[in-house]
């Protein structure tokens, strides 16, 4: 799985791993930027029915390799996903 997937202008990259990849049948795709972080899960649920309950509710999110909090409700000063960002859905891990 490469993290060098370059998004086209005005877009960000989203990476899917493990159960997130199984559910979407994709390892990555592009979405239009900017996007407030609180809109990410609703947008993904729109696109992939049942994604939230099955995968997202137990997943974390990174933006450019850093973990970010997902607010339950939109806020004035919330984190924005920008053009060119690399977002990843991180389901519960299982190394070893």
């Amino acid at each position: 799985m490469s993290s060098s997937t370059k998004a086209p202008a005005g877009h960000f990259t989203i990476l899917y791993f493990a159960s997130a990849s199984s559910h979407t049948s994709k390892s990555s795709e592009f979405f239009a930027a900017p996007l407030p972080i609180s809109k990410l899960f609703p947008k993904l649920e729109d696109q992939y029915q049942g994604f939230k309950a099955k995968v997202l509710d137990s997943s974390l999110v990174t933006v450019n390799l850093e973990y970010v909090d997902i607010p339950d409700t939109p806020a004035e000063d919330e984190f924005m996903i920008k053009e060119g960002d690399e977002v990843a859905i991180i389901p519960p891990v299982s190394s070893g």
Binding site: S59, P91, P92
Partner: protein
């Protein structure tokens, strides 16, 4: 020339040769766990968010070195298909104190299993398909096939044993890189 004796699953030897870690590890290889809840596992497949996983491994290693006053530590995880009875992870530590080394090794493994962005799919063979494992509670993970609605009542990745804290989504505490 080594002199050796073995009985059942115990092997002992004396040698003047250079000690070969792989050779002695091969002696215990068949004891690796090869089933989950009684179901035989055919093989494991690991996938990773590589740059993120490497960062987490480094953060863990630096914290363990500091905590146990180690001389050094090395950690490697195998990706892709790993046949049963082959190692998926190796951790080596050096330390002036033997006890600290054992403790550090175990702790490094536990930290890795909890935090490193690597995912294991267990392949049972037959029609059942693979299952993404979650390193929590020994619960059965998420079946790979789409469209099956059968969920364990307690949640997608196993029973929830305590209330969530803000920002937590089923992994345990939210990991802040470089803040271990």
């Amino acid at each position: 020339m080594p002199s050796e004796i073995s009985e059942e699953n115990c092997f002992v030897a004396l040698t003047t040769d250079l000690l070969d870690a792989k050779q002695i590890m091969d002696r215990v290889r068949s004891t690796t766990r090869d089933n989950f809840a009684g179901k035989p596992v055919k093989e494991l497949e690991y996938t990773s968010y590589e740059p993120r996983a490497l960062q987490s491994m480094l953060t863990i290693c630096k914290a363990i070195v500091e905590k146990h006053s180690l001389t050094s530590i090395a950690m490697i995880h195998r990706l892709g298909i790993v046949p049963i009875a082959e190692e998926s992870i190796l951790i080596a530590v050096s330390s002036p104190h033997r006890q600290a080394a054992w403790k550090a090794g175990e702790e490094a493994l536990e930290e890795c299993k909890q935090k490193v962005e690597v995912w294991k799919k267990e392949e049972f063979g037959g029609e059942e398909g693979g299952v993404w494992r979650a390193n929590r509670d020994g619960a059965t993970g998420v079946r790979v096939e789409k469209g099956e609605e059968e969920r364990p009542a307690q949640g997608p990745h196993g029973p929830i044993l305590r209330p969530k804290v803000p920002g937590e989504r089923g992994h345990g505490a939210v990991v802040r890189p470089n803040a271990l």
